[in-house]
């Protein structure tokens, strides 16, 4: 059953995309109803701060790590045996 359900979802990437988008929209709306007065620093007082932090952090990390791996760290799996 679970396999059929997942196959059904997998064949509909557009639907998954819209599900993700609607969750993101929901999370942004949700943030407006949250009390932003208590927090540890200025970022906690801004609506949507952690959304930007998450997106920029994620993209930045992929670019930085993949780039570093590509230009410097990447080796064959039997590198030390040679």
């Amino acid at each position: 059953m679970i396999v059929k359900f997942l196959t059904y979802l997998r064949e509909r990437p557009e639907m998954l995309k819209w599900l993700l988008m609607s969750f993101l929209a929901f999370s942004l709306v949700f943030d407006f109803f949250v009390d932003h007065h208590e927090g540890h620093f200025w970022g906690d007082h801004l609506v949507g701060f952690w959304a930007v932090f998450g997106l920029v952090g994620c993209l930045g990390m992929i670019v930085f790590c993949k780039g570093l791996s590509h230009v410097w760290l990447e080796r064959d799996t039997d590198h030390y045996d040679k």
Binding site: I2, F30, D35, F41, C58
Partner: protein, 588 residues
């Protein structure tokens, strides 16, 4: 069971391990494998607050000290031993089970130890028992990785021992209690470095991602739980409030997660991710406030369960398909759906989804950093949380179970005992998330923190949702390739090569030169003298002593035959002997 009848949990596992071959002979190995950890788990709450105090050569040793901090670790260690043993039920080799249990015993013994000498003994047992979990994989790569693991841990043990000596010289006291950052001297810092090596704090972390992916399927499940978390316990016990730990811990969280983003082998990703997660705990210990130490303990408890769950999940895939590289997997959800569900539960728990254990433990440390006004540390920890969801929450399950293309394999679902182990861990991940009081009540200090507040929920929705969005945008750049990445083990792996070259060439050449001179001039002279002396010894003196020398020669021959020349055998024998001595000491 009454409170007056109890057994040191480490002794239970040591005796259990020694009796395993016997039970195997009577086809009862599986019963024994469940019974011993179950008994150990059930009896920990009956342990008195202090026991097993002995005088030995003028030192006061304490094998049992139980308080709230000990209890939370004992609880999760014995629970994990039970889950791990059930997961490994299908393994027939008693040796592997015995190594795992002796390793657990080392960890429990360290946790209960009240003084540095006992800590050191069990600390070494842990290293020497766990290396067999790597060697039992029996591939050349595993044997090599095991030796490196052993060498690094021996070095760490020596640093720890040196620290203990200096500490004893200065204070004449071996009791294992909290050290104040103001009074710490070189001795205490060496002890801390010894502990930090086991916690895999960079730059002395490379042993972990080197050895764990080479361990056996069940071995890795045990290893991911005990070594680093025992180190977190001893750091929390002795070194809470050291600022260096806070900074290094924050660096660890990012260092580990960066590698987890780029690695290809599923178990190596998880191994690097241990570095990241233990970073949270080390950071919490370094902050040192009540809330932060609580957070470190809570996170250790939650982490052991979900990281073991993840190792069980990818271990099941490795067991059934023989593959663990993401670039060789994909599309397995059709064939191993239950394993997939369990692993995804581990993945969302480690990412800190609401209603899972990560949500209620990780946030405690981040909030403690915020309340301690460590904003940079707090942001580093939050960024590591983003990377966690990216690498272990999405990337790992996606490329194993779904992925852009199917790998073409049609494996069967994992055996029932592996699934039961995964089910137990998955259940705990969700149970702790839904009923955090269970965990909070075990922590060393009273908890005044509620994870389920609106601001934290909203922050979590944002971090996780927009990380998923980032993955969606960049998924084609994250496609895994069959490569491995350099890390700091380069220094000793390449360094050893250079050392060997130096030994073979310049040193060996000069040695050869000196030997040549000796052979031509010195040897003849010595031989002539030796012949004369030997004759005198054999015929003159030994005759007088009733032929004892001949007896010794014969005995030496017999001893020579016992020696196989395999280092593993010697280490095994030495460890077995050590355990026997320990059993005798602890029991009496």
């Amino acid at each position: 069971m009454t409170s007056s009848i109890f057994m040191h949990p480490a002794t239970m596992f040591i005796v259990g391990a020694l009796l395993l071959p016997l039970f195997k002979k009577f086809n009862a190995q599986k019963v024994w494998l469940v019974l011993v950890p179950l008994l150990a788990f059930m009896q920990i709450k009956y342990l008195p607050s202090s026991f097993g105090c002995v005088e030995w050569m003028g030192f006061k040793l304490q094998f049992g000290r139980v308080d709230q901090l000990t209890m939370v670790f004992l609880h999760v260690f014995t629970l994990m031993a039970l889950i791990g043993s059930i997961f490994g039920l299908h393994v027939k080799e008693s040796g592997q089970h015995a190594a795992a249990w002796l390793y657990v015993a080392g960890s429990l013994g360290t946790t209960l130890a009240g003084d540095y000498l006992v800590v050191f003994i069990f600390w070494e047992l842990m290293a020497f028992a766990s290396v067999f979990l790597v060697w039992y994989r029996k591939r050349k790569k595993s044997i090599d990785a095991g030796f490196r693991y052993l060498l690094v841990h021996t070095f760490g043990g020596l640093v720890l021992l040196g620290g203990i000596f200096l500490h004893y010289q200065a204070t004449h006291d071996l009791s294992f209690v909290a050290v104040s950052p103001e009074t710490a001297t070189i001795g205490e810092y060496l002890i801390m470095i010894g502990f930090m090596l086991n916690a895999a704090v960079p730059p002395i972390h490379a042993w972990l991602p080197d050895a764990y992916p080479e361990a056996t399927v069940t071995g890795a499940v045990f290893m991911c739980a005990f070594t680093t978390k025992t180190a977190v316990y001893v750091l929390a016990r002795g070194f809470a409030g050291f600022e260096a730990l806070m900074i290094l811990g924050a660096i660890m969280t990012l260092y580990g997660v960066f590698y987890a983003v780029i690695e290809n082998d599923a178990r190596r990703i998880l191994a690097y991710h241990i570095v990241s997660q233990v970073g949270y705990m080390v950071c919490g210990v370094g902050i040192g406030t009540e809330m932060a130490v609580n957070g470190a303990c809570a996170h250790a408890y939650a982490h052991i369960l979900y990281k073991a769950l993840l190792f069980m999940g990818v271990g099941s895939v490795l067991e059934m398909t023989g593959r663990s590289k993401l670039s060789e997997l994909g599309g397995l959800y059709k064939y191993m759906p239950l394993t997939m569900i369990f692993t995804v539960i581990g993945g969302i728990a480690i990412s800190g989804f609401p209603l899972t254990s990560g949500f209620i433990s990780k946030s405690m440390i981040i909030a403690a950093a915020g309340e301690h006004h460590q904003l940079i540390v707090m942001c580093m920890l939050s960024l590591a949380a983003v990377g966690t969801f990216l690498s272990v929450g999405i990337k790992l399950p996606y490329f194993i179970w779904f992925g852009p293309n199917d790998c073409g394999l049609k494996p069967k679902e994992a055996p029932w005992n592996m699934q039961l182990g995964m089910f137990m861990a998955a259940f705990m991940c969700l149970f702790l998330g839904m009923y955090p009081k269970f965990l909070y009540d075990m922590l060393p200090y009273a908890v005044h923190y509620n994870a389920y507040n609106m601001a934290h929920l909203s922050e979590t929705f944002h971090l996780l949702g927009f990380t998923a969005f980032g993955f969606y945008l960049m998924v084609k750049y994250l496609k895994p390739h069959d490569v491995s990445n350099l890390d700091l083990d380069w220094f000793y792996r390449r360094g050893a090569g250079w050392f060997m070259w130096f030994a073979r060439n310049p040193v060996s050449a000069s040695n050869e030169f000196v030997s040549n001179i000796y052979r031509t001039v010195g040897l003849r002279l010595t031989m002539a003298m030796a012949r004369g002396l030997s004759w005198f010894d054999w015929e003159g003196i030994d005759w007088a002593l009733d032929g004892s020398a001949r007896g010794v020669v014969k005995g030496g021959d017999q001893v020579r035959q016992i020696q196989t020349g395999k280092l593993q055998h010697y280490i095994g024998a030495a460890v077995a002997l050590l355990f026997l001595v320990l059993v005798v000491v602890v029991l009496i």
